[in-house]
């Protein structure tokens, strides 16, 4: 564990260096966003100075590392709000928004993957695979807008809100999260089904599965006790490594179109406006999240496949 953590340090340094160069050093310049009309050269210099743009690369990068270590990213250059407060406020919202769709999308994908793998080549397999391709081909944006019209407006069922996030309890949460969840499930289900099917098909063709079939084991027993169990490593890899993306950027379109104040929307606004304190915080946290995910995934690997512990 300690060794893994130590491995994480150079990884974090690499991530912060690359992200600092791309997003901060060579990223959007906020000077001109902050200037008034008819600025003088002196005003331009003053704003650049106040943003720290006139400092050397090394000084700025070291300052950035210090912020990462202390987790103090200062105030948002756009709104003046503490970046820590922004993240505290938005991360739980994004999690509450994304997790149901993420979990459901994966569980349904897993279910369809198992079904289609078992009935490989049959009509069910063909229908599900065709539907998956269709699902993968439709733009997320189109899905969102169509669902909004069908479920949230008087032109359709008008059962759910188009926008907003006034969540106080499970009931209100379900009210606001249902349509975004449905959109997320629809857009991810095709990818998930195809991936899980491929994993299952590979496992189902192994000798021990054929042996189990010959011995007359039930399909349920074969799929859940042998195929699924032995496929957990690639499944875990896919699920776990999706988490940083899901938390930070996966919710961007949903948050934007459903007016949900999560971290994806904050990140998007920070990118377009060049709000570097927010960008630095998000990029760093994504990096940290990746390292943590790597560590946890490693533990899970050993848990689901004890051979890895021995190796």
């Amino acid at each position: 564990m300690t060794r893994r953590l130590l491995y994480g340090i150079p990884l974090m340094l690499g991530v912060t260096l690359v992200s600092f160069m791309l997003m901060v050093y060579f990223g959007p310049d906020q000077t001109y966003e902050l200037l008034g009309k008819n600025p003088t050269a002196q005003q331009i210099t003053e704003v650049r100075h106040s943003l720290g743009y006139d400092r050397s690369f090394v000084v700025r990068y070291v300052g950035y590392l210090k912020e990462v270590v202390t987790l103090n990213f200062g105030l948002s250059a756009s709104s003046g709000e503490s970046v820590t407060d922004i993240l505290k406020r938005t991360l739980p919202v994004s999690l509450a928004l994304i997790l149901p769709g993420f979990v459901l999308g994966n569980l349904l994908g897993l279910g369809f993957g198992m079904l289609t793998a078992w009935y490989r080549g049959g009509w069910l397999d063909k229908w599900v695979m065709t539907a998956s391709v269709v699902g993968m081909s439709v733009s997320f944006l189109v899905i969102i807008i169509v669902l909004q019209v069908l479920l949230c407006t008087p032109y359709g069922l008008n059962m759910f809100p188009v926008r907003g996030w006034q969540v106080h309890d499970i009931g209100s949460w379900l009210y606001y999260v249902s349509v975004p969840t449905l959109a997320l499930v629809l857009v991810t289900l095709g990818y998930n089904t195809r991936f899980y099917r491929a994993v299952m098909v590979e496992e189902i063709e192994r000798d021990h599965i054929r042996t189990a079939r010959i011995y007359g084991a039930s399909p349920f027993s074969i799929m859940f006790r042998h195929v699924l169990k032995n496929s957990l490593v690639p499944i875990l890899t896919r699920v776990m490594y999706s988490i940083p993306f899901v938390v930070v950027s996966g919710s961007l379109l949903l948050e934007s179109y459903f007016g949900i104040p999560g971290v994806g929307l904050v990140t998007f606004n920070a990118i377009t406006s060049g709000d570097q304190p927010v960008l630095k915080a998000v990029v760093s946290l994504t990096g940290i999240l990746f390292v943590l995910v790597m560590l946890v995934t490693d533990i899970f690997y050993k848990w689901v496949d004890p051979r890895m512990l021995r190796s």
Binding site: P28, D29, T31, Y32, E33, L34, L35, G36, K37, N38, P39, T40, Q43, H49, S50, S76, S79, G80, E81, S82, R89, T90, P92, V93, A96, L99, P100, V103, L107, I145, Q148, V149, C152, T153, P154, P161, V162, R163, G164, W165, Q166, V167, I170, L228, K229, L232, S256, Y257, G259, I260, P261, L265, V266, I271, T272, S273, G274, F300, W303, V304
Partner: protein, 598 residues
């Protein structure tokens, strides 16, 4: 297998923990008005309200000395925190402004004992000084730069707030005296803007840059909360009691008689308990949200114009919508235009007189190639107002019967001009066209390229320069890296002086004159009119300046967008997004049927 279920259980726990955090909106029955805006504002510090979105909110949270009358069109100045319009000396250089007594900032921990104190004249002086303090990172200094005696020197001397300024001082607690370096008739207009809103020094010192997220003002509303999708404000119960006077606000029964405003007479604004402003940049989501009744006002996205209008001339709402909503079609206070970089010697000014002449012909050929009708039809549903030059329809100096040659497409004329001046596909210079990274702007570029191709410009010589943000784009064209600068101007006050300065030489990039146009005659006339208030003589000169711009062809200009507003029938208001802007919020009222219980 139990391990898989354990994993699922862990995720479910995370989820339940997360959904405990919610956005807390008021629980009690409230008269809540929900307004939609097409962008989110940045900081709510008055010193940083450069966007119309931030300005819209700031004037509801803070007080300014002046505002515009709610219903009068053309716009008329109206005292807000001031008691009357300024008393101006005969030479136009000294203004005295009295402010209301007994107006208090809202309660806030920044004040001693947490109790809001009375606003004094010194607070206004302090608020203007902040724009000249580099620490503030303010955006409004340009309004007063070089105009108020001693203010620029105060900055160069170190921005010490305890140091007096000769031209900006509080005579006593309720009187302000301003001394100008030269007459500036538009000064009072600048005191209607969010930039000039009055902030207490205690709050600035307490919150610093955080003031942008912790407003402490004396406006009709108090800040409750804000996130990336909305802002919530509550009625300021202690807002000064000034009864609403329909006639005084410029009511016109013929055009405004159906808005339900009569019931406001004699009552004390603000009339609603809670103001929620939703930031919805996606047009489809904004329209769906409005259709579902989640917001009560919408600036209709252009893509929805077709579904909303039954005719464009005259602009008429579809009957089924007219039954449900109030409707207003109003020109935007500003215009869209494409500047040609005059500092680029391949197309702008050139020291070689012959090349200079040829460049002039090239620019005019480009102007002739532009098809405003197609541009209007494709991007503005044909209801934008195309006009020649730089005096938009919003200004009183606008000349409706002006010669339209400058905006008439003339492909043959353009080709001829190129040919006569020795231009051909081989020697035409490469052109870059600056845009931010949106689909619409890319389409605008492609349309322009097709127009230029028709006059013989090789398409491979016209390329887009795409920028991730407006800031990056602004930097690039300010540094002369863009040939054709696709831009727009939103007027700061209802006076054409605000657009005439767009082509004044000393305002060249990075200033507002992004074409870096520099005509000695234009500059001379601009300076000659700088102290003049609106008058027939000034109008005559402005039109002469407009002609100079058109003769020199530094810009493909222009079009004023027409905005369509829809709002619920039971919301009684006349919305505005121009100079009155957010000031109308204090006058919004709703009938009982619209009171929302949350």
């Amino acid at each position: 297998m139990h391990k898989l279920f354990l994993l699922i259980f862990i995720m479910a726990c995370l989820l339940l923990g997360a959904c405990g955090k919610g956005d807390d909106v008021a629980q009690a029955p409230l008269k809540t008005y929900r307004h939609s805006m097409d962008h989110a504002p940045g900081s709510l510090d008055p010193a940083q309200t450069s966007s119309i979105y931030a300005n819209f909110i700031v004037v509801n949270l803070y007080d300014t000395l002046y505002r515009y009358k709610y219903l009068a069109r053309p716009y008329q100045l109206e005292p807000n925190l001031a008691t009357t319009l300024p008393v101006v000396s005969d030479d136009g250089l000294r203004l005295t402004i009295a402010i209301r007594k007994g107006v208090y900032f809202i309660d806030d921990p920044a004040f001693e004992g947490g109790k809001g104190r009375e606003i004094k004249a010194a607070d206004f002086v302090y608020s203007i000084k902040r724009h000249f303090d580099p620490e503030t990172r303010a955006q409004g200094a340009w309004l007063w730069q070089g105009r108020i005696e001693g203010l620029d020197d105060w900055q160069t001397q170190g921005s010490d707030y305890d140091q007096q300024i000769s031209g900006l001082r509080a005579i006593d607690d309720y009187n302000i005296e301003i001394t100008l370096t030269r007459p500036f008739p538009q000064l009072v207009h600048t005191f209607t803007q969010g930039y000039s809103a009055i902030v207490p020094r205690e709050a600035v010192e307490e919150y610093g840059q955080g003031l942008g997220n912790h407003p402490v003002g004396s406006g009709p509303f108090k800040f409750s909360s804000r996130n990336s999708s909305h802002a919530i404000m509550a009625k300021n119960e202690d807002f000064r009691k000034v009864p609403f006077d329909l006639e005084h606000e410029g009511y016109n029964a013929a055009t405004q008689g159906n808005l339900g405003l009569e019931s406001l007479q004699g009552r004390y604004p603000p009339f609603i308990d809670q103001l929620v402003i939703e930031f919805i940049s996606e047009g489809a989501a904004r329209w769906n949200s409005f259709s579902a009744g989640e917001v009560q006002f919408i600036k209709v996205p252009v893509v929805n114009f077709e579904n909303v209008l039954s005719s464009v001339s005259p602009i008429t709402l579809r009957p089924e919508l007219a039954d449900r909503y109030h409707f207003d079609a109003t020109p935007e206070a500003g215009f869209i235009y494409t500047n040609i970089n005059m500092a680029d010697e391949t197309i702008g000014y050139n020291e070689d007189e012959d090349r200079n002449q040829r460049n002039h012909a090239l620019r005019c050929a480009i102007v002739k190639a532009f098809d405003w009708k197609k541009n209007n039809d494709v991007f503005f549903h044909g209801i934008g107002q195309v006009f020649p030059g730089i005096i938009p329809p919003f200004s009183s100096e606008f000349q409706a019967d002006a010669n339209q040659d400058y905006i008439e497409r003339d492909v043959e004329g353009a080709r001829e001009l190129l040919q006569q001046n020795g231009w051909n596909s081989e020697n035409l210079p490469k052109i870059t066209y600056g845009i931010t990274n949106t689909v619409t702007e890319k389409q605008v570029f492609e349309q322009l390229r097709s127009f230029l191709t028709e006059i013989g410009y090789p398409p491979e010589k016209i390329s887009p320069l795409i920028f991730a943000s407006f800031g990056d784009y602004y930097r690039a064209y300010s540094q002369g890296k863009v040939t054709l600068i696709n831009t727009s101007w939103t007027m700061d006050y209802p006076d054409a002086e605000n657009t005439m300065q767009l082509f004044y030489g000393p305002n060249a990039s990075p200033g507002a004159n992004s074409s870096s146009f520099n005509s000695p005659e234009y500059n001379r006339l601009y300076e000659a009119t700088s102290g003049m208030a609106e008058s027939p003589e000034r109008t005559r000169i402005y039109r002469q300046m407009n002609q100079i711009v058109m003769d020199e062809c530094p810009s493909i200009t222009g079009i004023t967008r027409t905005m369509l507003f829809l709002w619920d029938k039971n919301v009684h208001m006349l919305p505005d997004r121009s100079f009155l802007g957010g000031y109308f919020m204090r006058f919004v009222d709703m009938t009982a049927g619209d009171v929302t219980t949350q």
